[in-house]
Symmetry: C2
Subunit: 332 residues, 2 copies
DNA sequence: GTGAAAGCGCTAACAG
DNA sequence: CTGTTAGCGCTTTCAC
C-alpha cells in the first residue's frame, strides 16, 4: 500500500526535522531514545527505505575501511585483524573484511576496490600487491596501508624477518645451546608471502657465522597445521643427533614442539628448548619464549596511518618497522 | 592523478556543460557526434564512473552480511567470528563487522540496520535483542540469525549453558574429585549475556544434588582479564580447604588456573584439576579438558541459516543447538 | 539533542 | 544541439 516515502515524509509525520531522521539512520546513538523510537515507528508505518543512490550522492565518503587478508586462521592474522577492529571501533568507520583464498581473487579485489566506491581506505595484510595494482591505487589517490609488505610508494608496517631469524639464533647461542633445529611452514600458497624463508635464512646464516651448524635432518618445512608440526618435530627429535634447541618460525609451531615433547616425555626446555615467533597471546599463556613483532600495536598503527591518509591527501609515505625483540619466558 | 571524478570534472575538461555530459550518458543520440567523441575521450582519460552507477553495480555483484558482536577480544568470540568469515569467504558476500561497546550502541544498530539498506542479513552473537527489536526485523522481513541467544521467532544457534555447568559437575564427580571450585567473569556489561551465571547455576545445582558442596571461598566472579583470573585462583588455592577441582567458565580462565598453579608450584591435575568451557584452539594446544560447544561449526551453520533465509523468504525458523560434550585432555 | 541550510552528483524541464 | 536552473532524497556543518 505504502507509496515511496522519503525522510521528509517520515520527518513531518514524526514531527521532527529531516536531520534527526537522517541521524537515526547513521548515528542512532546521538538521538534521544524517545525521538528515536517515535521515528522508527513512523518508518515502520511507512515502510520507509532510504534510497541507496541518494545516499551515495550525498555522501562524500563512506566511512568504511576494508581489510584484505589471506584466508587463514593463523592466530597471528587473527590477532592482527582483531587489533585493527579494535582501533576502528572507537571511530565511526565500518570494517569490511575481504579474505582472499586464491590469486585470482586477490587481483580481482585489488583492481576493483579503488574504483568501486565501496570503501574509503584499505589495509592489506601479508599479500603481494603487484606494481601495476599499486599504480592503480596511486592514480585514484586511494588510501592504502600495507602490513608485512613493503613498497617504496605505499605506507606500510614492515617486519624484518631476516633480522628475526638472526635474533633467534643469537639468543639461542647466548643461552649456551649447541645444536640447532628449525621448523617452519613450507609450500605456502603463491599469493601470500614467504616470511618463513627469510626467517630461516637469517637463522641459518647467523648460526653459521658463529661456527654452528644446522644439520638438514633438524630442519623441516611442513604443511600448515598442528598435526604436521608435531609430526615433523617428532621426526627431528628421534634422530640420533637431535638438536637441543629449535627455532619455530611461528608460535603455533612452537606449540607443536611442546606438544611433541610432551608426547615423547621430553622436558622443555631441559631436553629440548624452543623459541617461537610472533608473540601471540597464546605464547604468554603457555610461557613460550618468542620474538615479539608488535602484533597488537601494528593494527593500531595501521589504522592511524590510514586515517591520516584519508584525512590529508598529501600523505607523506611512511614506513614503520617495529623493533623485533626477544621475549624470554620458560621454553628457552 | 585522477581523483574520483564527477560529471563536473568531465564537463569542464571537455569544455561543455554538465547537461551535455549527462546526456551522453542517457540519450547519446541528442549530442553532436563531435562533442560526444570529445566527452567520451575525457571520460576515458579520467576513468570516469558515474557514482550512482558504481553503487548500483556494487549492490549487484556483491551482497553484505553484517555481524553484530560484543566488543570483546575473548578468543571464543574471535574464533566464532573467524568461522563466520571463513564460511562467507567462499560466497560473494562481504562481511561487515559491527562491534558494540555499549547498550545504546546496541539498540542503535539494531534499530537502524534493518532499514538502512546497508546490509542484507545479520548475525548477532551473544547480545540480547529486545522483543520490539525482533518485531522490527520481522516486519521488514529482514534475515537474521542469532548465536548464543534464543527467541521463538528467530533462527538461532543456542547453547545450553545450564547443561554445560551440569556436565562439568558430572564429569568432575565421575573423575573422583571431592571438593570443588568455580571461577567466572562477573559484572559483565549489561548489554551482553550472562552465560556465566547459568553455567554456574548448572554446576552448583548438580554438585548439590550429588551431595557435594561448593564453598563460597572457592567461588570467584572476577573481572575479565588474565591477571584477574590468576589472582582469583591464587586466592582460592591459598585457602585452607582448597578445592581439588575447578570449573572455569571459559577456557581462557582455565588457562588462568594453570598459570596460577605454575606460579604456586602446584601440579595440574594432581594438585588442582581444571575443566574449562568453549574448546577454543588454545584448549587443544594446552591440553585443557573442556566442554566443547562447536565454536567452529556454529559460524558455518549460522551462515547457512542466513543464506537460506535470504534466498527464500518463507524461512522456517530453525533452532539448532549443538550437543555439548566433554573433551577429555590432561587438565582434569 | 535538535534544526536550518548548504551542499552532494545527477537528471529533467525549460529556454535559447 | 546545448546551457541554465530547479529539484531529487539524503548527509553534514554549524548554530542554538
Amino acid at each position: 500500500m505504502a507509496k515511496k516515502s522519503t525522510i521528509y515524509d517520515v520527518a513531518s509525520l514524526a514531527g521532527v526535522s529531516i536531520t534527526t531522521v537522517s541521524r537515526v539512520l547513521n548515528s542512532p546513538g546521538q538521538v534521544a531514545a524517545a525521538s528515536r523510537k517515535k521515528i522508527i515507528d513512523v518508518m515502520k508505518e511507512l515502510s520507509f527505505i532510504p534510497k541507496a543512490d541518494a545516499i551515495a550522492r550525498a555522501r562524500k565518503d563512506f566511512k568504511r575501511v576494508g581489510i584484505l587478508t589471506p584466508f587463514s586462521t593463523a592466530p597471528s592474522f587473527v590477532q592482527r585483524i582483531r587489533s585493527i577492529a579494535g582501533a576502528l571501533s572507537v571511530t565511526d568507520f565500518e570494517l569490511i573484511t575481504y579474505s582472499v583464498a586464491s590469486e585470482d581473487q586477490l587481483s580481482g579485489y585489488l583492481s576493483m576496490l579503488p574504483i568501486s566506491n565501496r570503501i574509503d581506505g584499505l589495509i592489506v595484510i601479508a599479500l603481494p600487491v603487484k606494481e601495476d595494482e599499486i599504480e592503480l591505487f596511486r592514480e585514484y589517490d586511494f588510501p592504502i596501508v600495507m602490513i608485512e609488505i613493503s613498497h617504496p610508494s605505499v605506507s606500510s608496517i614492515e617486519i624484518d624477518n631476516y633480522a628475526g631469524g638472526k635474533l633467534a639464533a643469537e639468543y639461542l647461542i647466548s643461552k649456551g645451546y649447541k645444536s640447532f633445529g628449525f621448523i617452519g611452514e613450507g609450500g605456502q600458497p603463491a599469493y601470500s608471502l614467504h616470511a618463513t624463508d627469510m626467517r630461516f635464512n637469517g637463522y641459518k646464516t647467523t648460526l653459521e657465522q658463529n661456527g654452528m651448524v644446522l644439520s638438514d635432518s633438524s630442519v623441516s618445512f611442513h604443511k600448515y597445521g598442528m598435526e604436521y608440526s608435531v609430526d615433523s618435530v617428532k621426526k627431528i627429535l628421534m634422530d640420533d643427533n637431535k638438536p637441543d634447541a629449535i627455532f619455530a618460525s611461528s608460535d603455533l609451531q612452537a606449540v607443536g614442539v611442546i606438544k611433541a615433547a610432551r608426547e615423547m616425555n621430553l622436558k622443555v626446555p631441559e631436553d629440548i628448548a624452543v623459541i617461537g615467533f610472533d608473540d601471540i597471546d597464546l605464547a604468554d599463556y603457555m610461557g613460550i619464549t618468542t620474538i615479539n613483532q608488535s602484533l597488537d600495536q601494528s593494527g593500531q598503527t595501521a589504522v592511524e596511518l590510514l586515517l591520516e591518509q584519508m584525512k590529508d591527501n598529501s600523505h607523506a609515505v611512511k614506513h614503520i618497522s617495529y623493533q623485533l625483540k626477544v621475549i624470554e619466558r620458560y621454553s628457552a
